[in-house]
């Protein structure tokens, strides 16, 4: 027999509800903890959302963040954050730091004079320093972006709610959306915990997570729908267990390949998109967890009306239906 890598044994009979109080409770605690974190510590919002300027500087000489801070303090630019950036891709003599300046009163985007002043000030402490990129966003646009961000996440959740409702039962769509809210909240929570920069690209990551997590959830639901017809007499809880077990190998494989791709991006893709990729990596892990431990628990909690004449929506969509051929 040829060698096959099998992360999941041929046949599994895990009871995913055995510790349901623990796993579901854990999710609830994580969501609550995330909310508390966001409310108390807040988010380290990037300039996309609060306006201001980010200047990326590079130097062949080592950068001293303290010296940089001292150099720009006399410029009186208000809140200035200086962070040194590390990346395995950098050359040995490549030293990178970002300077973030708050939005200046009465200006939309940063004035070139300010930028020149900052560069001159930095050059007094590090003569080799140069600016490799700047990004300046006025308060007007950043205010709009906040709304765009909120809207896009809400719109995505609503679209999924409706789609899952149309294709399955309303209980499924509640379960799916609960899992999505779980994923988004926990991801935002970790950004608050580590005070990672939260900008527009993170919203893109959140939407990707929504897409990924719902993908996972829907595959489990699809199998559940099939098994509900197949095992008419089996209790709902067990049908769910069978369905999750049957799809477990697929869940692990897909999460595996996705994580492999994401981790190579996280390590090698450069620091510019590191936060973005981190959000997605974290989201894939959380999303996989939630489709196994959150979505179906909600459905079980609400309960399904199984006596009702079951319509299989796939009949409407496809000529060949899978259910009756056995």
């Amino acid at each position: 027999m040829a060698f096959r890598l099998k992360l999941v044994p041929e046949k599994t009979t895990f009871d995913f509800f055995k510790h349901q109080k623990l796993t579901f409770g854990f999710s609830v605690v994580m969501v609550l903890a995330s909310l508390v974190l966001v409310l108390t510590m807040g988010l380290n919002l990037g300039i996309d959302f609060r306006g201001g300027t980010t200047i990326r500087t590079e130097s062949d000489l080592p950068i001293n963040v303290g010296e940089f801070r001292q150099a720009v303090t006399p410029l009186d630019l208000g809140d200035v954050t200086i962070t040194e950036v590390y990346d395995p891709n950098f050359r040995a003599d490549q030293h990178v730091a970002t300077v973030r300046i708050q939005a200046q009163d009465g200006q939309e985007a940063i004035s070139p004079e300010t930028q020149t002043k900052v560069l001159a000030a930095l050059q007094t402490v590090n003569k080799d320093v140069k600016i490799t990129s700047t990004e300046s966003i006025g308060p007007k646009v950043s205010g709009e972006l906040v709304w765009t961000a909120v809207w896009s996440v809400l719109a995505a959740v609503a679209a999924i709610l409706v789609y899952v409702w149309l294709r399955f039962e309303w209980q499924f769509s509640i379960g799916a959306v609960a899992a999505l809210i779980h994923d988004v909240t926990v991801t935002v929570g970790i950004f608050s915990l580590f005070q990672l920069k939260f900008d527009l690209s993170i919203i893109a990551a959140l939407l990707t997570i929504l897409g990924y997590s719902i993908n996972d959830t829907v595959v489990v639901f699809d199998r559940l729908r099939e098994n509900l017809v197949k095992y008419k007499k089996m209790p709902l809880r067990e049908v769910m267990n069978v369905s999750v077990n049957e799809t477990l190998s697929r869940t692990v494989m897909t999460s595996g390949t996705t994580l492999l791709a994401l981790i190579s991006l996280l390590v090698l893709g450069g620091d510019v998109i590191r936060n973005f990729v981190f959000a997605m990596t974290w989201g894939v892990i959380v999303g996989t967890y939630s489709s196994v431990f959150v979505a179906k628990n909600i459905v079980l909690f609400i309960g399904l009306n199984r006596n009702k004449e079951k319509k299989d929506p796939s009949e409407k969509f496809f000529d060949k239906t899978d259910v009756a051929t056995d």
Binding site: S133, V218, D222, R250, M253
Partner: protein, 554 residues
């Protein structure tokens, strides 16, 4: 049994082939870009230099040469988001109405009494009527000048909103007229910005309208957004106004319809001007560097026919009086009118250097921006950072691909090999579609492709797992494969439609680099469903037909 009809086979193979052919230019990016540049040069100049000839022959003409555009974050360059202050235009429009209304009302001076313009907010014209009890008559006269709006949406509406307040007529642009004016202003600004950037000869600038009153300008290869601003010349508005007096007090009180502007070269000298210009830079048909009678650099100009007449009439009526040439709210010179200037041409002198004269001529020729702009957002990315990002993205993509392939082959053996080939074709298809539709690849876009590599195999995984299950319940290989594809279908469709929905929302609402991510992700979803359902199936069918295995190990 396990069959795919011939026409489907041909179609699938044709799509694969097209994908590879159209993606191919991107593998030789610099070479194809050189080829394309040489072609552009050829149509522009008619001939080619030897280097261009060489660049042109580096890529055969008969192969597709569409490339994926590289976003600013990969190529380096400058980006500005400008808001056109459309309300600026209301002011100049309304200011220009005064002479017209004065003339019409003055014709009925006998009944209306003295007519005077009074101070009002910008964009509003207030006219005091001497005989306050004759407002109805004044209104009638004013309404004769009120023409219907000529836009499609404003049918039946008038150009001006005219009301009375006590003994004053209050005239503004109507909402319908404002809307159509706004649209024209933004369109005109966009065209002027485009012309100015094109004149500078940078490659592949992108100038697009965003929303109702914004313009997004992206120019690769510029070192700073400041350079871009200078190129656009945020304020280059030329007007010719009559001079009422000169003063040294910049805060001197002035009457309605008058304003104080500084001299551009003499400190402490201010001119009191009539705000309604006699003619404006928009009426210029030509401007070029010239010299004055003393041989100093100057700018020669020529007006269009109607402005030439206006200017001629004005100079004839005002011989011996000074008039001001105003550029960007500064009086660059205020010559005294020596004689009737007919024909509508003349020169502007103003202690220019040769370069300043040349630049001014260029600016005037490109036309003035009809309204000022506020820059809401600016970004500059250095080319080195872009190159670093491409390098990092390529490396991560290559490593990610190898890892996914190894994992798939280790898990599914021969079927994993099929899935890996399908993955390669998937990526070729993404690049092919991006090239053909002229999509832009950004750094997050590269992340989208890498992510697609991870998720693209999902559909295959669903199918393979299903085949495994069918094999377990003692189905014959051919039947198991067939059922595997059939039964995994609904899960594949549901899973991908939901993902597609979120990616679509990201595309609609996202901006800039995020949209770049959404584009590659969206295309990736479509192509991965195609490759998973059809391409791997085709491979498996070919393989199965040749080997006819009694049993398959999966």
């Amino acid at each position: 049994m396990l069959q795919i009809s011939l026409w489907k086979r041909v179609l699938i193979l044709a799509v694969i082939l097209a994908g590879i052919v159209f993606a191919a230019p991107n593998a030789f990016y610099n070479r194809v870009e050189g080829h394309n540049d040489a072609l552009t040069a050829q149509t522009k100049n008619g001939t080619l230099t030897p280097e261009e000839q060489q660049a042109k022959s580096a890529w055969p003409d008969w192969l597709p040469s569409d490339l994926v555009n590289l976003g600013l974050d990969l190529r380096g360059g400058a980006q500005l988001l400008a808001q056109v202050n459309v309300a600026d235009v209301y002011k100049s429009r309304v200011d220009s109405l005064w002479p017209e209304f004065r003339k019409a009302l003055a014709a009925d001076r006998a009944t209306l009494g003295a007519i005077r313009r009074v101070q009002a907010d910008p964009g509003v014209l207030r006219i005091r009527i001497g005989n306050g009890d004759q407002m109805q008559k004044a209104m009638e006269v004013a309404q004769t000048l009120n023409t219907p709006v000529t836009s499609l949406t404003g049918v039946g509406q008038k150009t001006y909103a005219i009301t009375t307040e006590g003994d004053q007529l209050v005239i503004q642009l109507s909402d319908a007229e404002k809307a159509s004016t706004d649209d024209r202003t933004v369109q005109q600004s966009l065209e002027i910005v485009r012309r100015r950037i094109d004149a500078a000869g940078t490659r592949e600038p992108s100038i697009v309208r965003e929303g109702s009153d914004r313009i997004l300008i992206q120019v690769p290869g510029l070192k700073s957004a400041q350079e871009l601003k200078e190129l656009i010349g945020t304020t280059a508005k030329l007007t010719f106004n009559s001079v009422i007096s000169t003063t040294s007090n910049s805060n001197e009180a002035v009457g309605a319809g008058e304003e104080i502007l500084p001299s551009s070269d003499q400190k402490g000298l201010y001119y009191v001007l009539d705000t309604s210009p006699v003619v404006t830079g928009e009426d210029l048909t030509d401007a070029r560097p010239d010299t004055d009678q003393n041989g100093y650099p100057a700018v020669g100009f020529r007006f269009n026919v109607s402005a030439a007449r206006t200017f001629g009439d004005y100079t004839q009526a005002n011989i011996g009086k000074p008039f001001a040439i105003v550029l960007d709210k500064k009086v660059i010179s205020a010559p005294v009118i020596q004689s009737h200037i007919a024909g509508g041409s003349g020169i502007i002198t103003g202690r220019f250097t040769v370069k300043e004269a040349t630049d001014l001529a260029l600016l005037l020729r490109a036309g003035a921006l009809p309204a000022s702009m506020t820059f809401l957002e600016e970004r500059t990315i250095g080319p080195e950072l872009g190159a670093d990002s491409i390098k990092a993205g390529k490396l991560a993509a290559a490593v990610g691909a190898v890892l996914v392939v190894v994992f798939m082959i280790a898990s599914y053996g021969m079927f994993g090999v099929f899935a890996s080939f399908a993955l390669g074709i998937n990526i070729a298809l993404i690049f092919a579609i991006m090239s053909v539709i002229g999509g832009t690849l950004t750094l997050p876009g590269i992340a989208g492709i890498v992510l697609t590599m991870g998720t693209a195999v999902d559909a295959n995984v669903l199918v393979f797992e299903r085949i495994r299950e069918e094999l377990k319940i003692a189905k014959k290989p051919a039947r198991a494969i067939e059922l595997g594809y059939e039964r995994a279908m609904s899960a594949i469709i549901d899973a991908n439609v939901t993902t597609f929905l979120t990616a679509l929302i990201l595309f609609v609402l996202g901006a800039g680099p995020v949209r770049g991510f959404a584009v590659t992700f969206l295309i990736g979803i479509v192509t991965s469903v195609f490759t998973a359902i059809w391409v791997t199936r085709l491979f498996i069918v070919f393989w199965f037909a040749r080997k006819r295995p009694k049993e398959i190990i999966l």
